[in-house]
Symmetry: C2
């Protein structure tokens, strides 16, 4: 055996983290075969008979901890554990061990992560989280109210006027549409300066703390420059598309002490992880657990009942992934969006609960020609829905 | 209309880029509705009736250029064009306009990009490409021969001895397994120093130019440090998992003049874009066009007939995406991998052609206890397969 002479004694801590995989399979044996495949693929990337005996075979290779057959008979949820050392160091390698090559296997989905506190201690996690964001905004009760500046093509001045009006109308968080980048017809710096100034002016008038969170998604070598510019211009938060930048760029934005701003995660280009119900990464993990590991304070996702075909169950999964206990990592705000209407707010509040940020833009702009009034209506409807839901609870 | 007062006259160049989408749909009307949805979703993110008239409606919103019904009757391939200005600046925003939110729509797949030369001029593209890599290696004829150092758990010294032996045996490119990161049992710097030194020693003895391409996939704030360390230690190339780091980190590694090294792209965590045949990003784009836009010189993908269920057609798609004309962007090396055996080399050479790099590791280590001999056999089999294929051609 070629590796035998190099086989080391590894000084492993014995701490392991667990990943739950939904595995599609024809029968029990097929489940086990696919699960064993994951154990090898995600670590040594060798067939079992080539894997060196001793610590590598016994501790580096993933270990099947539990098999829970699906009641539907199409496979099982399998818990596999890995030595925490395999995933060192950083979020990129953690993701690699969780799903690197196995992402290429149809019919295998990451359903849940179960990381020991010692491993979570290496993550800074959300700086603000739900409660921190509430404190910044001065909104302790009711769901938060968010909107987006759009459309692409409007000049900075036009977007700033929209920002002013919705801020005066009482919106809590105003983000750039994620399509606003650094286009010649709407350069980043001019847009951010004007919109931040508009929101600051509105806050002075209303006495509120509306946050403007510009989109800083950009080439890796420009993203921090843009974020620092935004902070200096008075932006109260940042929006970033982790699917475009890589999730580790989000982590770095959230951790950066020079910034110290809440981060709103946008799901652009992340859809391929969730379009298949049987492959990829479940909503719970992608928009919940992973966002908290990276340090987002709020995560935008597409809600059921809008223009994307996701189920209530998937949306509930996001909410739980944002809130369930994960060591010291704060809960964050699930932020449903995409094709929601003001008329649905009562229903959405009943479904999502209070610890949520709504993100409605198109329906807000389309309601009437008076944008300040539209924003007021939106906020009032959220307050009413919240009161109603509390009464019913 | 709320936006009317801000409606600008945009100074657009008139240049547009085209994206071909495979759209699953029940009938022609459904195709058109979904296509119109893409045109709006990827730009203004507003319903048509809210989109400001004038330049935004006429030029910013995507435009349906062509509809080619699928002969299978399950939809159509639709060509949509966008103003090049919408995608400025950088690869992140280009990807955003191509597929940002639409990635969340099941049954829509990016099939091909058609970017005008003026837009491609903004991309550096592959520094070496196929011919440049051949020149570096001194291998003008035959497919290139690659392997990976593994398994995770071996110490730097063990990996370096493997590297030395396969380099002596005649391998062209030796990459780290993508699971080798910076684990306590195999720290990055020690591994790279030792493996680079081992390959340098082997090259001195053989007179060849074998390249060692360590895995520099890492947190964003460490990746360039690691790459610079690798270069200084004598590494002849770099391996990076663009699915883990974000594709723009690959671009930056490839462009960095301090490095100037060939870059091998690894597909870890990119699988969810290709696991569904009807959603995500087609092989042609993901592993071909996009890798060239980012500047990879070789791209690893999983071959048909191994342990992942991809088709010959999908693999041929990669090969064409790596070679088809794309402005000034050099062709790059498709690098099939994952569960290939030495016995299949003749078949693989016949299928992939000569402009390819094979990546075989497990089967190389498993062949016999004499790794130098195994590597020689591997190279000989490639030479024989190449001669055979030339004879048959």
């Amino acid at each position: 055996m070629i590796f035998a002479q190099y086989t080391p004694i590894l000084k492993l801590s014995g701490e392991r983290f667990r990943v739950l995989y939904n595995i599609q399979a024809r029968n029990e044996q097929d489940v086990l075969e696919r699960a064993k495949g994951i154990c090898l693929e995600q670590t040594v990337e060798l067939p079992d008979d080539l894997t060196p005996a001793g610590d590598i075979h016994d501790h580096i290779v993933g270990r099947i901890e539990h098999v829970e057959p699906h009641t539907t008979g199409d496979g099982a949820t399998v818990t596999i554990s890995y030595a925490v050392e395999t995933a060192e160091t950083g979020l990129t390698q953690l993701l690699n061990v969780i799903f690197g090559n196995t992402s290429m296997q149809p019919g295998i989905q990451v359903a849940r992560l179960d990381l020991p506190d010692s491993q979570l201690a290496n993550c800074r996690g959300p700086r603000f989280g739900t409660q921190g964001l509430r404190r910044l905004l001065g909104v302790e009760q009711r769901p938060l109210v968010g909107t987006a500046l759009k459309p692409m093509g409007l000049p900075p001045d036009g977007l700033a006027q929209l920002a002013y009006q919705v801020a005066v109308g009482g919106i809590d968080v105003i983000k750039d549409d994620h399509g606003l980048a650094n286009q010649p017809f709407c350069p980043f710096e001019e847009r951010v300066e004007r919109c931040a100034a508009a929101v600051t002016r509105a806050n002075r008038e209303t006495g509120r703390n509306c946050i403007y969170a510009p989109n800083v998604t950009a080439p890796i070598d420009e993203i921090f420059e843009r974020a620092l510019f935004a902070k200096q211009a008075g932006a109260g938060g940042l929006t970033v598309c982790f699917g475009l930048t890589g999730v580790d760029a989000l982590r770095l934005l959230a951790e950066d002490e020079r910034l110290g701003l809440p981060v709103v995660a946008h799901p652009a280009l992340s859809g391929s992880f969730v379009t298949s119900p049987a492959s990829g990464i479940a909503h719970y993990v992608l928009y919940g657990q992973l966002m908290r590991l990276a340090g987002a304070d709020a995560v935008i996702f597409v809600s059921y009942g809008g223009r994307f075909p996701y189920s209530r169950e998937q949306c509930r999964d996001v909410v739980e992934g944002c809130r369930d206990r994960m060591g010291h990592l704060k809960p964050i705000l699930p932020t449903p969006s995409a094709g929601m209407t003001l008329e649905r707010i009562a229903e959405l509040r009943a479904f999502y609960g209070r610890e949520v940020m709504f993100l409605i833009a198109g329906a807000l702009y389309g309601r009437s020609a008076d944008l300040v009034a539209n924003a007021r209506t939106y906020v009032e409807m959220v307050v009413q829905a919240d009161t109603l839901a509390l009464g019913e609870a």
